[in-house]
C-alpha cells in the first residue's frame, strides 16, 4: 500500500486530469505561452502542461485536491518560486542575471509580477499593465511620473522595460560598484539612454567625461523632474558649477575640474546663467573642445 502511494506520488497524470477540477484554468490555457509544450507533444511529462510547473499530480488527485501534495505557488517562498521557473527559463538570454538581480535578492517572486493563468495583457504574462506592475512596489518612481516633465510612461509611449531589465542586467559599464543593476544596456554595453537618444551616443572627438564615466544621471533625473529636460537642478549654472569649481582633488588629472573664466562669464547677465546657451553640445562635440558647436 505504501509502495502504491509512493508510486502515485511520482505519477504524472497529464493535463487532462487537471481539467476535471480546474476547468476555468484550462479554458484560457491555449492563450498561454506555456500551452506550447502541450501542443507540441514532444516534451517529457515533467516539462509539459500543468505538471511541468506544479509537479506530478498523482498524490494531489489521490488526496482529492490536497494542496500540500503538489507544488502550489501561492504557498511557496519567493526563492522556491524562482527555482521552479528557472527549471526552464534559466537559459533565457534576458534572464542570465536573475539570480543576482535586485528583485531576487529582495525576494520578489516571479509571481509578484507575472500571472501565469490569467494575465490580461499581450506579452509576457504580466499580472497588470507593465507600469502598474512596477508602480505597485516602486512608489517613488510612480510619483516621479506624475511630475510635469517625464518620460511618457503613463501616456503609453514608453515602458519601464525599455530602459530596465526586471530580471537583472549585466554589470553597468558606467558608474561604480553600487551602480544600478537593473538598467539595460544599449548596443550590448552602452548606457540605456542612448538607445533612443542616439545623437548623445558619440563617440565624439571631444567627450564630456562625466557622461561616459558617471552616466546620464549625473545631471538628469530620468524618471521625472520638476525641471525642464529632466535636469537635476532648476538653474543650469548652479548644476554645472557644482563640479566646475577648480577644486584640487577632482577632475581627470586631480587638479580640479576647470572653472569658467570669471573675467568673461558675468553671472549677473542672464545669458551666462544658462551654460548651454554657448556650450550647446554639452554631451560631446566633434568641433570644439569647449562644446560650443
Amino acid at each position: 500500500m505504501a509502495a502504491n502511494a509512493q508510486e502515485a506520488e511520482q505519477e504524472y497524470l497529464g493535463s487532462e486530469a487537471c481539467q476535471v477540477c480546474h476547468p476555468d484554468v484550462w479554458q484560457g490555457f491555449p492563450r498561454n505561452p506555456h500551452f506550447r509544450s502541450v501542443a507540441l507533444e514532444t516534451e517529457t511529462p515533467e516539462k509539459t502542461g500543468c505538471e511541468g510547473c506544479h509537479g506530478p499530480g498523482g498524490l494531489h488527485v489521490a488526496g482529492l485536491g490536497d494542496k500540500t501534495k503538489i507544488r502550489a505557488f501561492g504557498e511557496l517562498q519567493p526563492s522556491e518560486t524562482l527555482d521552479a521557473c528557472l527549471t526552464c527559463h534559466s537559459k533565457d538570454f534576458g534572464k542570465m542575471q536573475i539570480r543576482r538581480s535586485s528583485h531576487s535578492t529582495g525576494e520578489v517572486a516571479c509571481t509578484s509580477c507575472h500571472s501565469i493563468h490569467s494575465a490580461p495583457e499581450i506579452g509576457p504574462l504580466l499580472a497588470k499593465q507593465e507600469r502598474e506592475v512596477c508602480y505597485s512596489c516602486h512608489l517613488e518612481v510612480r510619483a516621479r511620473f506624475d511630475l510635469p516633465f517625464k518620460h511618457r510612461v503613463n501616456e503609453g509611449a514608453v515602458e519601464c522595460s525599455d530602459c530596465h531589465n526586471p530580471h537583472g542586467a549585466p554589470t553597468a559599464t558606467w558608474g561604480a560598484a553600487h551602480s544600478p543593476r537593473m538598467v539595460s544596456q544599449a548596443l550590448g554595453n552602452d548606457i540605456a539612454c542612448v538607445k533612443c537618444h542616439s545623437d548623445k551616443r558619440g563617440p565624439f572627438v571631444h567627450e564630456h567625461p562625466p557622461v561616459r564615466v558617471e552616466g546620464c544621471t549625473a545631471c538628469h533625473n530620468p524618471h521625472g523632474s520638476t525641471n525642464a529636460r529632466l535636469l537635476a537642478r532648476p538653474a543650469v549654472f548652479t548644476m554645472c558649477l557644482e563640479c566646475h569649481n577648480d577644486v584640487a582633488g577632482f577632475g581627470l588629472a586631480g587638479g580640479g575640474i576647470p572653472a569658467p573664466n570669471s573675467g568673461f562669464h558675468n553671472l549677473a547677465e542672464p545669458r551666462f546663467q544658462n551654460c548651454v546657451v554657448c556650450h550647446s553640445r554639452i554631451h560631446g562635440s566633434n568641433a570644439d573642445r569647449l562644446f560650443r558647436r
Binding site: L139, T171, P203, E242, N245, V247, F272
Partner: protein, 673 residues
C-alpha cells in the same frame, strides 16, 4: 473562489491605473469567440479627443501635448489556435494605442507559429515638442516627430538551434530653432554676437542584428553580430532676421552652417550560461563594440567685430572619432542548500575613445590646427552577494561590492608652427561598499524588508560623485483579499568633503499607497502619498564675486520638498454604469521662501534662485495637479459609451509666465466582438 479572486485582481488592476491619462478607457475583459480553430478576442475604442489651453501653450505642449481629433484610442486583437497547431500561426496579437493623431502612439504586433517562427514588432510615434522655460529666454525649441521601429524575428523557437534576426529604426525629424553664443577662436567677432538658426532636424538610426541561440552539452549559447548606423543630416538655416526676446546680445548679419555627422557601430555579443541541478550556475557574457563617427562642420558668419565694424568668419572642422569598448562579465551562482544562495559577479570594461579634428578658421587672420583627444576608461568590479533563509518566514542578505576604475586622458594640438601635447594623465578611483538586509514575512500577506548600504570611494571624479555614502531602504506591504497596502522609506546620503568646498547631498523619500476593492467589485478606491526630498549643499565657483573679493567660492544650496498625492475611485452604482474619479497632485514647496531675492545688479534668467551676494539658494516651488473624471455606460454586452475629462494645472510660485491650465476630454465608443 478562483473567479472571484480573478475579478478582484482585475478590478485592482483597473483602479490602479489612476495615474494614466484619461483615455483610453481601461480594458474590460474581452469576450472570447471560437472560429476556424482559433480563440479570438477583439475590441477597439474609437472616439474624439479635444483640448483647451489657457496660459502658456508652449509649456502645455512640452509636458502634455494632447490635441483635437478623431482617434482610435485603443484596439486589441488576439487570436490563439485552440490546439496549438494553427496553419500559419498559433498566436497573432495586435495592440494599438492613440492611432490617428495622438502625440503618443504605440503599436505592438506578435505572430508565432510554434517551433517555426516568432515575430515581434513594436512601432511607436511620439510627437516631441520642446520649448521649455529653463532655457534662456526660450531661444530653443523643437517640434519633432520621433518614430521607433523594432522588429524581432526568431526562427525555430524552442528548438535546440534558433536563429535570431532583428532590425531597429529610430528616426527624428521636424522643425526647430536654436541659438547659441558665437564660438570665436580668432577673437575677431564681438562676443555680444549670437547665432540663431531655424533647423530641419534629420536624424536616423538603423540597427541590423543577426545571431544564433543554441544549446549544447548543457550550455545555452547566444551569439549576435549587429551593426548600428547613425546619420544626422540636420539642416541649419539662418535665423538672424527673426524677432528675438533676448537682451544684451545682438544677432549676426548672416549665418550659414552645415554639419553632417555619420557613423557605424558594429558590435558582437557572446553569452554562455548554464545551471546545474540548482546547485551551481555560470553565466558569462562578452560584448565588443567598435565604432566611429565622422563629421564635417562648415560655417560662414558675418557680424560685427569688437569695434563695431562688419567682419566675416569662416570655419571648417573635419572630425573623426572612434570608440572601442570591450565588456565581459562572469557570474557564478552557488546554491549549496535550499537555504543558501551565493553569487559573485566579476566584470571588466575597457573603453578607448580617440578623436581627431582638423580645424580651420578664417577671419581677421587664419587659425589652423589639428586636435587629438584620448579618453580611456578601464573598469573592473566584483560583487559578492549571499542570502540565507534560516526559517521560511525570515531571510537575511549580505553583499560586498568593489570596483576599481582607471581613467586616462591625453590631449594634443598641432599648429602649423608648433605642437602641444599633454602627458597621459588620469585618475584611479576605487569604490567599495557593503550592505545587508532582512526580509520578514510575519504572517501571510505581510512582508517587511529593510536594506542598508555603506560605501567609500577614494578619489571620486567630481565633487558630486559618490564619496562617503550610505543608503537605507525599508518597505512594508500587506495584501489580503481586496486590500493592498504598501509603504516605504528611503534615505540616500552622500558626503564629499574637501577643503573649502564640501558637497553634501541628502535625498529622502517616503510614502504609502493603499487600495481597497469591495467584495462585489462595485466600489474600489486607491490612493497614496509620497514625499521626495532632496537637499544639497555645494561649493561653487562664484562668478559674481565682488571685485577684490579674495574668495572665489560661494555656496549653493538646493532644496526640494516634493509632495505627491494621488487618489482614484471606481464606482459601479448600476451594472451598466461605471464612474471613475481621480486626482493627482505634485507640489514642490521648495525651501519655504515666498519670493526670490537677488543682489543689486544681478538679472536672473531663472525664477528659481536667490543670491545674497555670497550664497545661492536654489528652489523651484511649483504645483502640478490633475483631476479627472470618466463615465462608462454599457449600452450592450459588447458596446460601451465613454465620456471623460481631465484637467491639468501648472503653476510656479515665483512667476506666472510659465503656468497653464488645460482641459483634455474625450468621448468614445468601445466595441468588443
Amino acid at each position: 473562489m478562483t473567479k472571484r479572486l480573478a475579478l478582484i485582481l482585475a478590478l485592482l488592476a483597473a483602479v490602479s491605473s489612476a495615474q494614466s491619462v484619461v483615455a483610453p478607457t481601461p480594458d474590460r475583459p474581452d469576450e472570447l469567440h471560437e472560429a476556424g480553430g482559433y480563440t479570438i478576442s477583439n475590441s477597439f475604442e474609437v472616439g474624439y479627443r479635444w483640448h483647451g489651453v489657457g496660459g502658456n501653450q508652449d509649456a502645455y505642449r512640452s509636458s502634455v501635448n494632447y490635441g483635437n481629433g478623431v482617434r482610435l484610442l485603443e484596439g486589441q486583437l488576439r487570436m490563439n489556435s485552440a490546439d496549438g497547431r494553427g496553419k500559419l500561426f498559433d498566436e497573432f496579437s495586435f495592440r494599438t494605442l492613440g492611432t490617428g493623431g495622438d502625440p503618443y502612439q504605440y503599436n505592438l504586433l506578435r505572430a508565432e507559429k510554434n517551433r517555426w517562427y516568432r515575430y515581434d514588432l513594436q512601432l511607436r510615434r511620439v510627437e516631441y515638442f520642446n520649448r521649455l522655460p529653463s532655457l534662456w529666454q526660450g531661444e530653443r525649441g523643437l517640434d519633432s516627430e520621433r518614430l521607433f521601429q523594432t522588429h524581432e524575428l526568431r526562427l525555430l523557437p524552442g528548438r535546440r538551434f534558433e536563429i535570431l534576426l532583428g532590425y531597429e529604426r529610430n528616426k527624428q525629424s521636424g522643425p526647430g530653432f536654436w541659438s547659441e553664443g558665437i564660438p570665436n577662436s580668432t577673437l575677431a567677432l564681438s562676443n555680444d554676437n549670437y547665432l540663431r538658426y531655424v533647423t530641419d532636424l534629420r536624424r536616423e538610426n538603423n540597427q541590423y542584428r543577426a545571431g544564433i541561440d543554441f544549446r549544447i552539452w548543457g550550455l545555452a549559447i547566444t551569439a549576435v553580430q549587429a551593426i548600428d548606423n547613425y546619420k544626422d543630416d540636420t539642416r541649419y538655416f539662418d535665423g538672424s532676421g527673426l524677432p528675438s526676446a533676448t537682451s544684451n546680445v545682438q544677432p549676426v548679419e548672416s549665418n550659414r552652417r552645415d554639419e553632417p555627422i555619420h557613423g557605424n557601430t558594429p558590435f558582437t555579443t557572446v553569452a554562455i550560461r548554464t545551471e546545474k541541478e540548482r546547485v551551481i550556475g555560470f553565466q558569462g557574457r562578452y560584448v565588443y563594440a567598435s565604432g566611429g563617427r565622422t563629421s564635417t562642420l562648415s560655417q560662414d558668419v558675418t557680424a560685427l567685430d569688437f569695434s563695431g565694424n562688419p567682419a566675416m568668419q569662416q570655419t571648417f572642422v573635419f572630425g573623426d572619432a572612434s570608440r572601442k569598448q570591450g565588456s565581459g562579465d562572469l557570474t557564478v551562482t552557488l546554491l549549496p542548500s535550499p537555504k543558501w544562495a551565493v553569487t559573485n559577479t566579476t566584470a571588466v570594461n575597457n573603453t578607448r575613445i580617440d578623436g581627431q579634428a582638423s580645424f580651420l578658421e578664417r577671419s581677421l587672420f587664419r587659425n589652423e590646427f589639428v586636435e587629438f583627444d584620448h579618453l580611456g576608461i578601464r573598469f573592473i568590479s566584483s560583487a559578492t552577494e549571499a542570502s540565507f533563509r534560516p526559517v521560511s518566514a525570515f531571510s537575511v542578505f549580505g553583499a560586498y561590492r568593489y570596483s576599481t576604475r582607471r581613467i586616462r586622458t591625453r590631449e594634443a594640438i598641432r599648429f602649423p608652427d608648433f605642437d602641444f601635447e599633454t602627458e597621459l594623465t588620469g585618475r584611479d578611483n576605487d569604490v567599495s561598499s557593503g550592505g545587508g538586509g532582512v526580509r520578514w514575512t510575519p504572517r501571510s500577506g505581510l512582508r517587511v524588508s529593510v536594506d542598508a548600504e555603506v560605501g567609500r570611494a577614494d578619489q571620486p571624479l567630481a565633487p558630486t560623485s559618490s564619496k562617503r555614502f550610505h543608503n537605507e531602504t525599508a518597505r512594508v506591504s500587506y495584501r489580503r483579499n481586496g486590500i493592498k497596502f504598501s509603504a516605504f522609506f528611503k534615505n540616500r546620503n552622500n558626503q564629499n568633503p574637501v577643503a573649502l568646498v564640501d558637497y553634501s547631498s541628502t535625498g529622502r523619500s517616503a510614502g504609502f499607497h493603499a487600495t481597497w476593492v469591495r467584495d462585489d467589485g462595485r466600489w474600489a478606491f486607491d490612493g497614496g502619498y509620497t514625499l521626495l526630498q532632496l537637499n544639497t549643499g555645494a561649493g561653487i565657483f562664484n562668478l559674481f564675486a565682488p571685485e577684490g573679493d579674495e574668495s572665489p567660492y560661494a555656496r549653493s544650496f538646493y532644496e526640494s520638498n516634493l509632495h505627491t498625492v494621488n487618489f482614484s475611485a471606481r464606482l459601479a452604482p448600476h451594472r451598466r454604469l461605471t464612474l471613475y474619479l481621480a486626482y493627482s497632485l505634485a507640489k514642490d514647496t521648495g525651501d519655504g521662501s515666498s519670493q526670490t531675492s537677488l543682489a543689486p545688479g544681478v538679472e536672473s534668467a531663472y525664477p528659481s534662485y536667490s543670491f545674497d551676494g555670497a550664497d545661492y539658494y536654489v528652489s523651484f516651488p511649483l504645483s502640478y495637479h490633475s483631476p479627472q473624471a470618466r463615465v462608462s455606460v454599457l449600452l450592450r454586452q459588447s458596446l460601451s459609451f465613454n465620456l471623460g475629462w481631465q484637467y491639468y494645472g501648472y503653476n510656479e510660485r515665483f512667476t506666472s509666465t510659465q503656468g497653464y491650465r488645460a482641459q483634455v476630454g474625450y468621448t468614445s465608443l468601445r466595441w468588443s466582438f
